[in-house]
């Protein structure tokens, strides 16, 4: 009843092309942002800010990155974890050698380095496709992880082989408290999600989708496969790189290269498939599903008060989580974002579906 767009007329092209053409969506989004920026930092305690929201946001950013590459440009990749590592280690190396640099600049630098590395490892995509490409990108993952473990320069010759996030200083703002970290992560993620949304709606996004749907045909209508694919790799890796840097600086603090191991790459791929390929919203939903659901299952199991053993709860967590993945795929193979869209469509017509 409340969710209805009758009476909202679009009289200009700008209106028609808006991200949220329906007014209620706009208000909901603004309300959500207000809650996220104001209410959550005030009301949330350490546990929620530090171990739920912050990692969720950072993973969402990485998922957006991979979604650009896999969901929009159609290049399946298992290198996301490696590119996150590149971002984290670049930012660390910049800040440890030139400490006076603003953190935001360092983030951009980390993203750019990751983008360059990503484009380099994207070259085989010009020749190799589909599952073959997916497996081939593991070469990037393993090579990057190996390099950071192997060459002590990357860790500034730390004997433990780990990097420790240097203090964050932005325009005199020292980001230390958990709410400050959360707000910084939220700001970065919001800005970058907005950019991503506009990128995929514009001509670049369209050329990516053309390549995804059929690259030979796209080439014929004048889209350069090389530039387009490599750009997708670069932009995607930029997002992953920034996510990796945030992961190191806002979440973990001290990082060994294994923190960006193959499991991370797999998890991010799972996120976008479950959330919805080719959907920014889906990246958030998928991150929530993959990161938070197991935790909630675990908490629920512990909180039942049945005195179940830790091992039993953990195994049940695996089983329930796996079943839910299969269940959701059977219900809606195109991901949670599609489910959300269907719900919205239904809501618009409710209670008179015809």
């Amino acid at each position: 009843m409340l969710y209805r767009d009758s009476g909202q007329f679009k009289s200009t092209y700008e209106d028609d092309r808006a991200i949220f053409p329906i007014a209620q969506d706009r208000y909901a989004m603004l309300a959500l942002l207000a809650v996220a920026f104001v209410a959550v930092p005030i009301l949330g305690n350490d546990y929620w800010l530090r171990s739920i929201f912050t990692p969720f946001l950072i993973y969402s950013l990485a998922a957006i990155g991979l979604n650009i590459l896999t969901g929009y440009a159609g290049q399946v990749s298992l290198g996301a974890g490696g590119f996150m590592a590149v971002g984290a280690f670049s930012v660390y190396n910049l800040l440890v050698r030139v400490p006076e640099i603003n953190f935001i600049l360092a983030l951009v630098f980390g993203g750019l380095v990751a983008a360059a590395v990503g484009a380099l490892f994207g070259i085989p995509s010009l020749r190799i496709k589909g599952l073959y490409l997916m497996v081939a990108t593991l070469a990037a993952q393993f090579f990057i992880e190996w390099s950071f473990t192997k060459f002590p320069w990357f860790t500034n010759y730390a004997p433990s082989g780990v990097i420790s996030a240097t203090p964050i200083d932005m325009f005199g703002w020292k980001v230390e408290e958990s709410w400050e970290r959360y707000v910084l992560a939220l700001a970065v993620v919001t800005a970058m999600a907005l950019v991503a949304k506009n990128l995929v709606r514009g001509s670049i996004g369209r050329s990516w989708m053309a390549i995804r749907d059929m690259d030979v045909a796209a080439e014929i209508i004048g889209i350069q496969p090389m530039q387009t694919k490599l750009l997708a790799f670069a932009v995607s890796s930029f997002y992953c790189g920034v996510a990796g840097a945030l992961w190191a600086y806002l979440y973990l603090g001290t990082v060994e290269p294994v923190a960006f191991g193959i499991n991370t790459s797999f998890q991010i791929l799972f996120m976008i498939i479950i959330g919805g390929l080719g959907s920014i919203l889906g990246s958030f939903l998928g991150a929530g599903f993959i990161i938070l659901l197991p935790i909630f299952i675990n908490i629920a199991g512990t909180g039942l008060g049945l005195n179940l053993s830790t091992a039993f709860i953990s195994h049940m967590e695996f089983i329930i989580f796996g079943s839910l993945i299969i269940l959701f795929l059977i219900v809606e193979p195109h991901g949670l974002a599609r489910l959300w869209q269907i719900a919205k469509e239904k809501l618009r017509l409710w209670p008179f579906p015809y």
Binding site: Y132, A139, K150, V216, I274, I319, F321, L329, I330
Partner: protein
């Protein structure tokens, strides 16, 4: 870009890498130890290790061929099969009985998978099916640990493991047994596919499942059979790897070793899985021993993928994969 241009670029890149590595080796004479005996030792060791990769890769290929599913759960199935076997041996004290029971368990698993996962998701995208098998991985891992436990269980089926020397080249009985098992398995699968009625049906489904369906081949039975066979291959792989390091959760990770083999050999070819395994095994061991010291070692993991990548530059569908023909 044209095919010819690609060929030239690929040859150029590979040539550059080979020459570069050669130059590195020659420029660092002190760091590399080389003798022909040792070379053959590493080569044979690598080939035999490769057969163990092939065993895992075979399971993937069977399923991909018949149902177009890239089965991420192959590692989990390997673990589950080996775990069932080793725990059943503890209970029943009989290896043969336990084997038989494990076969039944793997059949039941295949049935459940076909009924609850494959059937509802028939004709979905490759990536969706892939994700479904990831769900299965969690499910099987959790279920396996719940029923059988998460400890490490030694597995000793009496396979001899002593080293011996032939012409100064060190060999290990276990590796030879593993190679023989792999060869036997491939032979059995070849006969099964080529000579039996079910095998013919399987090949028909692999070629075109719509056409197979229309001539009356029951797709569901075929899937059940393929997943069962793949479960049995997983059991064999689980036994070999479990003998090496004990049956424990890490068995589920051996799938990673099979991936470069798969793309190198082609996702749809059984001989490809074997040849790919041999190439990857020999290639990565030779690289680790003779090139690795220049970089400080442990290059095996990524080297296998780079090797596969180089082959893919020439043949994007793998050595024996079906040629991809694209029409606009």
């Amino acid at each position: 870009m044209s095919q010819a241009a690609w060929r030239n670029i690929s040859i150029g890149v590979s040539g550059f890498i080979v020459l570069g590595l050669g130059a590195l080796v020659i420029a660092n004479p002190g760091k590399i130890f080389f003798s022909w005996t040792f070379f053959f030792e590493v080569l044979i060791g690598g080939l035999l290790a490769g057969t163990l990769y092939s065993l895992v890769a075979l399971g993937f290929v069977l399923i991909f061929k018949a149902s177009g599913v890239f089965n991420f759960a192959q590692g989990a199935m390997t673990l589950f099969a080996a775990l069932s076997l080793v725990r059943l041996i503890e209970i029943t004290n009989s290896i043969l009985l336990s084997m038989a029971l494990t076969v039944v368990i793997m059949m039941a698993l295949a049935y459940v998978i076909e009924r609850l996962v494959l059937r509802p998701l028939v004709n979905q995208d490759v990536i969706i099916m892939f994700m479904a098998t990831i769900g299965m991985t969690f499910l099987i891992d959790g279920f396996g640990q719940l029923v059988w436990g998460s400890d490490v269980y030694p597995l000793n089926l009496g396979i001899p493991q002593d080293p011996f020397e032939v012409q100064g080249v060190l060999l290990n009985q276990f590796d030879l047994v593993a190679g023989a098992v792999a060869a036997l398995l491939v032979a059995v699968l070849a006969v099964f596919f080529q000579k039996t009625r079910i095998g013919r049906a399987l090949r028909a489904v692999a070629d075109d499942n719509q056409a197979a369906l229309s001539v009356g081949i029951p797709l569901r039975h075929i899937w059940f059979i393929v997943w069962t066979v793949s479960g049995l291959v997983a059991l064999v792989a689980g036994i070999m790897w479990g003998t090496k390091s004990g049956v424990q959760f890490s068995l589920a990770l051996i799938a990673l070793k099979a991936l470069p083999v798969l793309i190198l050999g082609g996702l749809t070819s059984i001989p490809g899985a074997i040849i790919g395994g041999l190439i990857v095994g020999a290639g990565e061991k030779l690289a680790e021993v003779f090139i690795g010291p220049l970089f400080g070692g442990a290059i095996e993991n990524w080297f296998a993928y780079v090797l596969a990548l180089l082959f893919l530059l020439f043949r994007p569908q793998g050595l024996f994969g079906e040629k991809i023909i694209e029409r606009v």
